[in-house]
Assembly symmetry: C2
Homo-oligomer: 313 residues x 2
Amino acid sequence: MKLQQLRYIVEIQRQGLNVSEAAESLYTSQPGISKQVKLLEDELGVAIFERSGKRFTGVSEPGKVVLEIAERILREAENLKRASSEFATGSSGRLVLAATHTQARYALPVVVRDFVAQHPDVKLEMHQGSPIQIAEWVVAGEADIGIATESLDQYQQLITLPIRQWTHCVIAPEGHPILESQPLSLNELAKWPLITYDTAFTGRSRINRAFERIGVQPNVALTALDADVIKTYVSLGLGLGIISALAFDAQRDTGLVAIDAAHLFESNTTRLALRRGTYLRRYDYDLISLFAPHLSKRVVEMAMQGGGDEYQL
Amino acid sequence: MKLQQLRYIVEIQRQGLNVSEAAESLYTSQPGISKQVKLLEDELGVAIFERSGKRFTGVSEPGKVVLEIAERILREAENLKRASSEFATGSSGRLVLAATHTQARYALPVVVRDFVAQHPDVKLEMHQGSPIQIAEWVVAGEADIGIATESLDQYQQLITLPIRQWTHCVIAPEGHPILESQPLSLNELAKWPLITYDTAFTGRSRINRAFERIGVQPNVALTALDADVIKTYVSLGLGLGIISALAFDAQRDTGLVAIDAAHLFESNTTRLALRRGTYLRRYDYDLISLFAPHLSKRVVEMAMQGGGDEYQL
DNA sequence: ATGTAGCGTAGCTGTTGGAGTTTCATGGAG
DNA sequence: CTCCATGAAACTCCAACAGCTACGCTACAT
């Protein structure tokens, strides 16, 4: 059994059972792969793939088990390389951070600044995307750390850790009549056109749920992917905005007023996602600790080990 | 990176950093190993071993991490072979069960009989040993399943599951004066010479602790590794026996009387030990379920996954 | 000082992984 | 039904390399 052979079968599966494509993506020849697959199957004594004639048509029952274990082995092999390259290159390296707009724009700048100062030799890359994209990047190993408020709990292969809680706030242009009605209620809010986040972004699900619970259909005039766009349209008078309280800055956002809405919508928890079983380098831990001081190396290790038991904020 | 290279470095560590011995135990030549180690170190960019001149004198810091991951990879590779050989050979295979005398003699016979009937093609091997030996066999992968009452919780690499609780009983020759004193007390017991298990066997620690707690020094005249020996000497009138209640059978053990001692000594829990991260075959699960019906495949899988969270009887 | 255990180096060889080309099987379009 | 496109297997060939033997060198013990 060779690591190479395992790489081949995993890649064949990834390419939808097409050996030629697998060969291409691994920069080798199709016959070479065919041969190695055959050798592996002979050695293990089981057929990994189902064939009809010369086509691969499926993964056999034993093949499923074999592929699963093979993937684990390859992941560990990846870890081995990561771990030793960390030692080899000292503090230098590359860290890919995947985050949503909200996090990238409002929460991460300070963290990134401090991290870059602490680790000048680490190339920090930020990938911005939707929560689902973020989760998938982390699962695929394309990102080392993912940060988002939604969707991260859907993936069995992710370990997620709570970073911080936050609530929504309502923003209105100065002088808007709603500013008179204190305290703010959902019914009051529903009378106005609303501008808020797109589905599956930044706590949008909590907003929907709040209105659903009182049986009121909000008038969502416009949805956007980020608070900056929302703020722009609120300034233009198109409606009231509902955004993360993290995203409002009284200094900068002139002409706008924020009203706390913690009592209207459930609070949200920003979470950090790591791929289960991945080796974390010193600077991975450092970035996490910078972002969430309560997540010490020890706490993160526990979560990676335990898997099941959830760390509570 | 090749699996072979990982095997080499792990074996070097196992053989106390002696490359020549590692070569011998892997049936290959010393220069071959030296060369592969060097290649691996070059590829990873780190020195795995510390050398003084041409001697290997230690494992470097990165080497520790590398070796740890390498061991995981090799274990998974082992799992892959086990898994596919299970499919390849159908229901046949080999299962090594390590147990103490008490278990092998009194608890396992029924289980083994049923298992053999269920799986005529599986070669069942029993290794009898001390609890510590059992634990080490399982850790080393020499035994698939270990069963004992003591010591199993000392090993981080083992998953242990509770099988059943049992208590001790006192055995005496018929007509012995102690049979008059009901209920039995520790102080009463301490007046007679006692015959019981050797240290670290079958709940002996509980026996010691009970006497310690009341500050009485028991007169242990003889210790043995198993209940059969103890019973023999009790029959000869050398003293009173303290054995597992499992080991007494009123039918067979004529001339002896057992007195329940559940109120004198803490109860003991027989545990089953598996190596963390090992692939279990269908018949491994079957044997476990036969022995402990509450340990269904699902429960065992949970324990293997979770690791931390303990299943309670 | 000297012997020995034990690793590295050199050179050789058999094995094998992979490239290139050809052949064969399948399934879909006309 | 025929023909063609797709895609896997078969075969040959070659370069790379793992591993072996022989030998030299270093560290350490006596």
